[in-house]
Symmetry: C2
Subunit: 408 residues, 2 copies
């Protein structure tokens, strides 16, 4: 195992860290939940607020092209996702975008009428599918749940669309997008990937792998701020689909105020109502950093960081026997390491109390999220050491650490 | 007619203007489209970005109650709308919120299956209804269009829900919420009011008038910034409804990550996915000004401003014969004056070029929006005078003024 200092010194992305506001005494390993503030975001947001909005007011929609932000930000996202310009929109939130994609996919692939979701999908994705099924009625939309590992033993004959996570939020397992997409297509299904935990951390080839649709959010590895807007990808070949949520921003000529909906051609028909310019301003500035890096460099460092963390866990008596839920195989690992442990919640709180910011997921999982844009190898080592100390000294037994927060 | 200076001097709301950033040389009469920046919004947004997000990162969801913002901001909106705490959410955009309300109302009022919309509704509202009807199929959801004036001659027997605007966006006509809501209820229909052009400008009694549901946006008279989030009101008696767009934020215990959707009790089940904290921060700060005023004072000044503008139009040869689309009767007037004129578009551009910021709506309407929070009586006079000069001197014939912008 190389020394952390040596790895940090050789890190070609090390200079990016200075763009972010990060507390000196803390190790921030929760960028898989909420990315930190990039100073350029702060500056751009102030500019949009105090100059564009304050001074130009209504004319800002034209002079600053606010009206096009969902598409222009989508075009910034496209290369990060391996998509083409005109295939991605930044808008609404992931849940809403998934509803639009699921409804469109069902119609595109009629008379098939099933949505196949995975049992371990991020819950909101399944809730949205459940809501759509309830709205349409079971004769038009039935849900089926499967383990993605068993897809080849699953009857897919009536499945219109498969909805699944690229990276499992609990375990950090990365799915084989190419193989699973091919499997879906071979069975006549469309596929919608949830990229929440991979966008900005993994090199994703949506176009290369012939993915049909995808959704995601920008508040994790894309660092656009708490609750930042979602995005959706619809491959060009599917952009003639009807959109269930059809607002004026998806109209071919919204400002003609026509009585009847006439969908825009291309991806913009997937827009609904007016989007928050302030929220979009944060996204556009946050994505700027990706113009100076390649996703393959990001991915390489991400894997090196999680390797380094796992290596350190393996060297110590107190951590070497912990159950690592995240696959050790690189091709199956996202940008986090998930540990299952008996006292998961109080351990996560003890870590946070000692400056290692992680999070907890039911029932017993502590997640250590690593971002190649700002995390250091020395931080991976330090997190492992502090975890070891907590377990060795049973600091997690402190009753303070058992008090639950609303958001965990 | 009283002198503008006298009216301004006697204006009890005059001191509020200083909170807003307004260019000295301009008369901003487009607050019915985009409200100006309140300095407190700018300060709060910087605080949320550079302190809450930057320093507290993921813990901000708990320590700053970001997670509750849709409800807490909704509770700020409630008194502005004449609703009770727990009946309003700030979230998503108006179009999405209308979809949720329409779908819920259809189910609540089954087996009725029609949505009645008005021909002159804001287009996005009708597009959303058209999309829902297309999604559900005509046998489950049929659209019917009527003129609201003719509601008593309209067959409402199969109408589940009536969707209409409180203030017509083109004419500025304010509808009689009490009478129309009673008419709807007498015929067994539910009613959803679009408050986009009345919230923050008119004293609205949602509770008093037994309104069922309402939607709106916060970027007009509520001054929360370009594309700021929407809101929805659902009367407590209807909050058991199923919500078609059911994301994790509407779950009874979202952070338990349960496999099946279990709706929260109360209004929060109308939430979808994660909301932008930055966008919400702007709304919460923008609404602060309403804690220091009563809506009846706002309404009184709003009517006095539009009266003053109409009085000045009537005094001058060049404007006295213009077609005023906005009702002169106070009870039927929103917070704008709409003039129909042959050269509407170039006149609107000539006004903007001379510092009177108005907007244009097809086919020939120039809208003068007045906000009691910052507009002055002297501005109403000045706008009338400049309009008169433009018409008198035919300045609108300048070819520059015929070039169309994307957003008008």
């Amino acid at each position: 195992m190389k020394a952390s200092a040596e790895l940090d010194a050789a890190d070609p992305l090390a200079h990016l860290r200075q763009q972010f506001v990060l507390s000196a005494g803390k190790v921030y390993l929760d960028g898989n939940s909420l990315g930190p503030l990039n100073r350029k975001v702060s500056a751009h947001l102030a500019r949009v607020t105090n100059e564009q909005w304050a001074e130009d007011l209504i004319s800002g929609w034209n002079t600053h092209n606010w009206i096009d932000l969902p598409l222009t930000v989508g075009n910034q996202l496209a290369p990060i996702l391996g998509a083409r310009s005109g295939e991605v929109l930044c808008c609404d939130n992931l849940s809403i975008n998934l509803f639009k994609c699921l409804a469109a996919a069902l119609e595109l692939n009629a008379p098939r009428r099933k949505i196949l979701t995975e049992a371990h999908h991020f819950p909101t994705d399944n809730y949205i599918a459940q809501g759509l099924s309830q709205l349409l009625g079971h004769e038009r939309c039935e849900l089926q749940t499967a383990l993605i590992e068993n897809l080849d033993q699953t009857d897919l004959r009536d499945v219109a669309v498969i909805s699944l996570s690229h990276v499992n939020f609990k375990t950090g397992e990365l799915r084989d997008m190419q193989r699973i997409t091919q499997q879906a297509h071979a069975a006549g299904c469309l596929i919608i990937w949830d990229l929440a935990h991979s966008a900005g951390a993994v090199d994703i080839g949506l176009g290369q792998h012939q993915v049909d649709m995808a959704v995601g959010c920008t508040y994790k590895f894309l660092n656009a701020g708490p609750g930042a807007p979602g995005f959706l990808f619809v491959a060009e070949r599917h952009q003639h689909a009807n959109v269930a949520l059809q607002g004026w921003m998806g109209h071919a000529d919204g400002f003609a105020f026509e009585e009847h909906y006439r969908p825009a051609s291309g991806i913009t028909r997937f827009l609904t109502g007016t989007q928050s310019v302030l929220a979009m301003a944060a996204v556009t500035a946050a994505l700027g950093i990706f113009e100076s890096v390649t996703l393959s460099d990001v991915r390489k460092k991400s894997l090196a960081l999680t390797d380094h963390f796992l290596d350190h866990l393996a060297t110590c008596n107190w951590t070497r026997n912990l159950e690592v839920l995240t696959p050790t195989e690189h091709a199956m690992r996202g940008s986090q390491v998930s540990l299952a442990m008996e006292h998961g919640y109080p351990v996560s709180q003890a870590l946070i109390d000692r400056g290692v910011i992680v999070d907890f997921r039911e029932p017993n999982i502590v997640r250590f999220g690593f971002s190649a844009l700002y995390n250091q190898f020395s931080e991976a080592e330090r997190a492992a050491q502090i975890l070891s100390d907590i377990l060795k000294n049973e600091w997690f037994l402190d009753p303070r650490y058992s008090q639950r927060n609303t958001v965990t």
